[in-house]
């Protein structure tokens, strides 16, 4: 068998989620080698048949995928319990690793869960996955110097309104419809006092400071202001838009000083791009 064909056959067997016999009989494997001809490619040893030998690789594959996904999604693993295995199998079949690192294996988990009907409560699981993905993305994001309160205060008020605050590369803003954040808080809780999934709207900022990832809650109005700033709006237009919204989305003028002070201390901003001075 030529090298390319051999590798395609072996990969088809190794990544197959069923038994080794099923893997050898799979359509992908049979395209290169009929199961009856296994020993024309692989030798048995004195102690193991050819099928038992390739089974060593086939059995290790799902363990490796499971470890990688559990590392990035501890909350999801905890909530699903034994069902996590089925999730890993289905997910890695739909989204196998295509890169040189396992760090990106779980990038499609929220989108994958959004398409699943069987795993419930679907909204809770999707929110939990979105939050956990935000945390891993923040963890691996590029390093940047952070804006200090002194940097902000040093800017002339006349220029401040037109300035654009650069948000830190680690900032992730997550709006949740379910209590996924509260659940994630308890995952390492030895008392196992985990909240039951329930609908609960909340807004969270995820940011990295001193190489550690933190989460802090936001009001809806603050969430929208930070979203505008992250999208590149100037401070003035963000404030203007926020004060023009209605209901819980609306910000009051007195909110901003406290918000900007807190966000700067939390490491939300990495710099400030100066605007032109306002006309007198």
């Amino acid at each position: 068998m030529r090298l390319a064909s051999l590798q395609r056959w072996m990969q088809a067997v190794v990544v197959h989620p069923g038994t080794t016999a099923e893997a050898l009989r799979s359509r992908e494997a049979r395209a290169h080698l009929k199961p009856a001809r296994l020993e024309s490619v692989l030798l048995p040893s004195k102690t193991l048949s050819a099928a038992q030998r390739i089974a060593i690789y086939q059995e290790m594959y799902p363990l490796r995928m499971r470890d990688a996904l559990a590392s990035d999604y501890p909350g999801l693993e905890h909530f699903l319990g034994p069902r996590f295995w089925d999730f890993v199998t289905a997910y890695t079949k739909a989204h196998p690793s295509m890169g040189y690192t396992l760090n990106r294996l779980g990038d499609q988990v929220p989108a994958f869960l959004a398409r699943q009907k069987a795993l419930k409560p679907a909204g809770f699981l999707r929110d939990l996955a979105r939050l956990e993905l935000a945390i891993t993305e923040s963890f691996d994001s590029p390093q940047a110097d952070l804006l200090s309160a002194e940097d902000l205060e040093a800017m002339a008020p006349a220029r401040l309104g037109r300035a654009r605050l650069l948000t830190a590369p680690s900032l992730r803003l997550v709006s949740l419809e379910w209590n996924a954040g509260a659940y994630l808080d308890t995952v390492r809780d030895e008392k196992h006092d985990h909240p039951r999934p329930r609908r609960s709207r909340s807004f969270t900022a995820v940011v990295r400071r001193n190489y550690s990832v933190y989460r802090f809650p936001l009001s809806e109005a603050a969430f929208l202001v930070l979203t505008d700033l992250q999208d590149g709006c100037s401070i003035a237009s963000s404030v203007e838009r926020a004060m023009g919204r209605r209901g819980s989305r609306r910000a009051a003028a007195e909110d901003f000083a406290g918000w900007f002070r807190t966000w700067t201390a939390e490491g939300v901003f990495s710099g400030i791009r100066r605007g032109r001075a306002s006309a007198p």
Binding site: M1, L3, E39, L43, Y57, R64, S141, Q143
Partner: protein
């Protein structure tokens, strides 16, 4: 008195005795800057992060010699080389002033997919020519000689026309590669495939060996799995002693990747290599006599 062999043909330094840089040991390393000769860094863990792992690596690379060791080059794959991966690998090697860059003689996937396993090559002329061509390309892209590690394996291909040690030696000579000789892998594969590990060691071009790996494994009775989860057994140390006599002093690293104990436990295991290294650097001094590993164990 016999003169111990001197160095490798690439001029890569004998870095002494090192261990792998592992996340669980970060707090200990950062708080104590322990006495250890060097660290081996798992390349892929540091290629795409700007967070704490990258910061820790920079701190370590400022204070210790490092070498990069990868698991996803897939040198034997029939897929095209991943040039983005190689470009990032070179940048990481430059940034950390890595002494060399190694990966495994294996393939990890095809059709764009990565199984993240070190899958074995068939030892055929076709596979050899293919791997030589790619190893040369990689060395050009990295602008340094590629160093390849012998794998541990659990299957043998009927189509193989040469033993692994011949394949590896020819690959190293024809692609001008360095070798990372994992003596535990030699032992594991010799058990699984019932060959003489000493014959393997004797066939390796000694002047191409730039690094050793030592590790523990898990013996399942019918076969051995290369788990890196334990102390090395005596037979592996014996192989190391035998090989050191051929290569002279070469950078040596102890791998412990599963059920990782405290930093000092890993270092203590690694430092067992010191006695064998002393025997090589001063053959007349009393040191552990090299023994031929008991073939009955296989």
């Amino acid at each position: 008195m016999t003169t111990p062999p001197q160095g490798n043909r690439f001029g890569f330094k004998d870095l002494g005795i090192g261990i792998g840089l592992r996340t669980v040991h970060y707090p200990h390393i950062l708080s104590t800057w322990p006495k250890i000769d060097w660290f081996e860094v798992l390349s892929e863990n540091y290629l795409d992060t700007g967070g704490r792992p990258a910061w820790v690596l920079d701190q370590v690379a400022e204070r210790y010699p490092v070498a990069l060791h990868g698991v996803s080059m897939s040198i034997g794959s029939t897929d095209p080389l991943n040039r983005e991966h190689l470009r990032k690998l070179k940048a990481l090697a430059d940034r950390t002033k890595a002494h060399w860059v190694s990966d495994h003689l294996c393939w990890t996937g095809v059709l764009g997919r990565n199984t993240h396993d070190l899958l074995p090559m068939p030892y055929t002329e076709e596979a050899l020519a293919h791997t030589i061509r790619r190893a040369k390309q990689v060395s050009e892209i990295l602008e340094r000689p590629l160093v390849l590690e012998n794998p541990s394996s659990y299957v043998e291909f009927k189509g193989s026309s040469m033993p692994e040690w011949v394949f590896l030696a020819r690959l190293a000579e024809e692609a001008d590669c360095g070798l990372l000789l994992d003596v535990n892998n030699v032992y594991v594969s010799s058990f699984n495939h019932r060959f003489d590990p000493v014959k393997y060691i004797d066939a390796i071009p000694a002047d191409r060996v730039v690094q050793y790996h030592l590790a523990g494994h898990t013996n399942k009775g019918t076969h051995i799995i290369d788990t890196h989860s334990d102390h090395a057994i005596d037979e592996v140390w014996d192989l190391y002693a035998l090989s050191c006599r051929r290569t002279g002093l070469v950078a040596t690293l102890y791998e412990w990747d599963d059920d990782i104990p405290a930093f000092d436990v890993v270092v203590a295991e690694a430092r067992k290599a010191e006695a064998f290294r002393k025997a090589v650097s001063a053959p007349d001094r009393r040191g552990p006599a090299p023994r031929r590993p008991a073939m009955s164990a296989l």
